[in-house]
């Protein structure tokens, strides 16, 4: 009764028609392999791209759906919390780009490192972060992953191999190469995924770091999450050559459909193998963000609403996986709706709990500036450790 089938057409994933002709298969064994073809082939630069056929299982597809639904819910809830002024400052939302996070997680282990910029909420979740930690950190509470002292742009999870969470565009790229350097130094057969955006792709530090990574064959995979807009500027207005996967020149590159979780998974697995043997590789994920650059940006002054809704209809990552699940009869409409409801419930519960979480103590202002120990007591320039006396 467990049938695995090789899909001969990519009609399922063609964005044009929801009416799909395919063979219905009953697959009750959730771990048997299903092979799916990605709708868009990979394009390689100085490398042979991997095959379009991706192996997956029903279990994996369900987990994709669940995780992406949770991420989507979390980001939308963050939107409301920001408008309710519970989240302040900058809040960069990832909805639309979830496929990159879940696809990457599916291809690697927690021992591999991921480092990214400020659009980090969903990747944090993928690395093992909890909703409570996430919302508490966003609202500046004690239970946040960085004890409320980091904020939206500074999520970290050391046990999960998630190195942040960085506010300055492009500054995480040399850090990522440093993580890869440490991995090479320790010889531990792990890789580092350094994520950056199409805006950061024009930073000098990227090319400096790329040079060094290629020089020393560091196991670094540089992933350009190309959502086509660097803050408010479209990519064609910012980059002379928007083919970011080619800009590594001597470093091989791969262009991937970033809205297809399976394509992302295939590319990341391929990249990991490559990096462990041959050194750095660039992955360009062709993706899209529905929200603006951050919550202070409406997102519609530099692009049309039609464009946004067009992408949402045709390329939405969650919809893709939903169609797959329905096509393979792994779940029916109601079950998927239930999963989404469950996600909503989890998010609402987490928010309620996070709201109850207390604000950090005043003394927390001065903790973690230095590491104490070995008899080293560190203070400010006048060597005073001040106890806060707030009114």
């Amino acid at each position: 009764m467990a049938l695995s089938t090789h899909r001969t057409t990519t009609a399922l994933l063609r964005h044009l028609t929801p009416a799909i002709s395919y063979l219905r298969h009953i697959s009750t064994d959730s771990t048997s392999t299903i092979t799916v073809e990605t709708s868009v082939p990979f394009t390689g630069h100085k490398i042979d791209p991997p095959s379009r056929s991706v192996d997956t299982t029903a279990q994996e597809l369900m987990s994709f759906f669940r995780d992406m639904a949770l991420m989507r819910r979390m980001e939308i809830a963050a939107d409301s919390l920001y408008k309710a002024k519970l989240i302040r400052g900058f809040c960069h939302l990832y909805d639309g780009q979830e496929a990159v996070a879940v696809g990457m997680e599916a291809a690697i282990t927690r021992k591999d490192c991921i480092i990214t910029a400020y659009r980090d909420h969903c990747i944090f979740l993928g690395r093992g972060g909890t909703l409570l930690e996430s919302f508490s950190e966003l609202m500046g509470r004690k239970d946040g992953c960085s004890k409320g002292k980091g904020g939206s742009m500074h999520f970290y999870k050391k046990e999960g191999g998630f190195y942040g969470g960085h506010g300055i565009v492009g500054a995480q790229i040399p850090l990522g190469c440093g993580l890869a350097f440490a991995q090479k130094y320790k010889n531990d057969e792990n890789v580092t995924f350094t994520l950056y955006g199409d805006g950061a792709a024009n930073q000098g530090q990227l090319f400096e770091a790329l040079n060094m990574a290629a020089l020393w064959d560091l196991p670094a995979i540089l992933v350009c999450e190309n959502n086509h807009y660097g803050m408010g500027t479209a990519e064609w207005r910012a980059a002379k050559s928007p083919a970011y996967y080619k800009r590594g020149d001597y470093v091989p590159g791969l262009k991937v459909d970033g809205m297809d979780a399976l394509a992302v998974k295939q590319a990341c697995r391929f990249a990991k193998e490559h990096a462990l043997k041959n050194g750095p590789i660039i992955l360009e994920m062709d993706t899209y963000r529905y929200h603006g650059h951050s919550m202070s940006d409406p997102g519609s002054t530099y692009r049309t609403r039609d464009e946004i809704s067009g992408v949402r209809q045709e390329r939405d990552p969650i919809e893709r996986v939903r169609k797959l699940l329905l096509a393979y009869d792994i779940a029916n409409e109601k079950e998927l709706k239930d999963i989404e409801k469950e996600a909503r419930k989890q998010v609402d519960e987490a928010i309620a709990k996070a709201k109850e979480s207390p604000l950090p103590e005043p003394s927390e202002l001065f903790t973690n500036v230095y590491v104490k120990g070995y008899g080293v007591e560190s203070f400010g320039a006048d060597r005073k450790e001040i106890r806060a006396a707030l009114p």
Binding site: I115, G178, F181, N368, S378
Partner: protein
Amino acid sequence: MAAMLHTIGVASPVASGGVFPDHQSNKFAVSSLHSLPMIRSEARSNLSSLHESYRAGKLIAKAVATKGENAAASGASKPGHELLLFEALREGLEEEMERDPRVCVIGEDVGHYGGSYKVTKGLAPKFGDLRVLDTPIAENSFTGMGIGAAMTGLRPVIEGMNMGFLLLAFNQISDNCGMLHYTSGGQFTIPAVIRGPGGVGRQLGAEHSQRLESYFQSIPGIQLVACSTPYNAKGLMKAAIRSENPVVLFEHVLLYNLKERIPDEEYVLNLEEAEMVRPGEHVTILTYSRMRYHVMQAVKTLVNKGYDPEVIDIRSLKPFDLYTIGNSVKKTHRVLIVEECMRTGGIGASLTAAINENFHDYLDAQIICLSSQDVPTPYAGTLEEWTVVQPPQIVAAVEQLCQ
């Protein structure tokens, strides 16, 4: 010549209290700021014998680990070994690399070339190309790389060929090095050491003669130390590598060839302790790095004129060792700061503020701070000389302070 001296308002000299020994003939005036009589410590007479040994030119460092103290105190009689400052740095680095396999060196020309100031000479053949990494000329990225490696537990020693070049890496040093421990809520520590020569050299030009301690000073989360002798260079290097916090170690281009005899035993100095170079009575002179030698040169003149200055090499630029400094201020009541840093927003400016805040009641006179001029270092020799503080200026400042 621009003399950056604060004017001290002295109403009328009033000699009061204490007994002056015969060989010290100068009078001390109580400034108009205080009306209390000066109370001189009785310990003065005990110091005269020590003066003899100090006049012999031996610098005794009090702030040392106990093992090292005995060795340093009995100078030439104990074996020890003589070496130059850059060799001392190398020794410290080598010992730490042997002790802990996580210590690595990252910088330009550190590997095959041996380091532009020979601090890492011989380390690459010994430890390998990956542990002593020759980088391309990309300060921003290799500093960032070092910090990323430190996040995972490695202990990189990042060398800037000149501290001025590290300005290119300022974002990485400030945001990622200094702040990551805080913004991650304590999850990541950055045990990196950033070191390199700075300061005014011999006609190196403006961009290669920068005094940048002030720029790094306000970054939260890092520690700044400045070495000045082979003894403290090795000790501070080892302490910096062992510290869990990011440390910026300032060396000076002109001090690399200083020779001194240092102990054979292993010793590690305290990163936050100041060094008592010469105990004294009349005035506290706070200094660090190269200016220490200008001060000691001025001290020769001052002692001949009958003054007894106390010289402290503060070594720790962030945080200041206010304990040692405070004890000295409480003893002498007069402070002169001699530094090579810029006048505006420099180490001396912070130190002046810190001493004023904490020890205001003990001061008999306004603090005088002699810093280098707020100008780019000129190329011409004479102009370059006047950019930094010279011994005659120090002598004049002490005389003014002790009027």
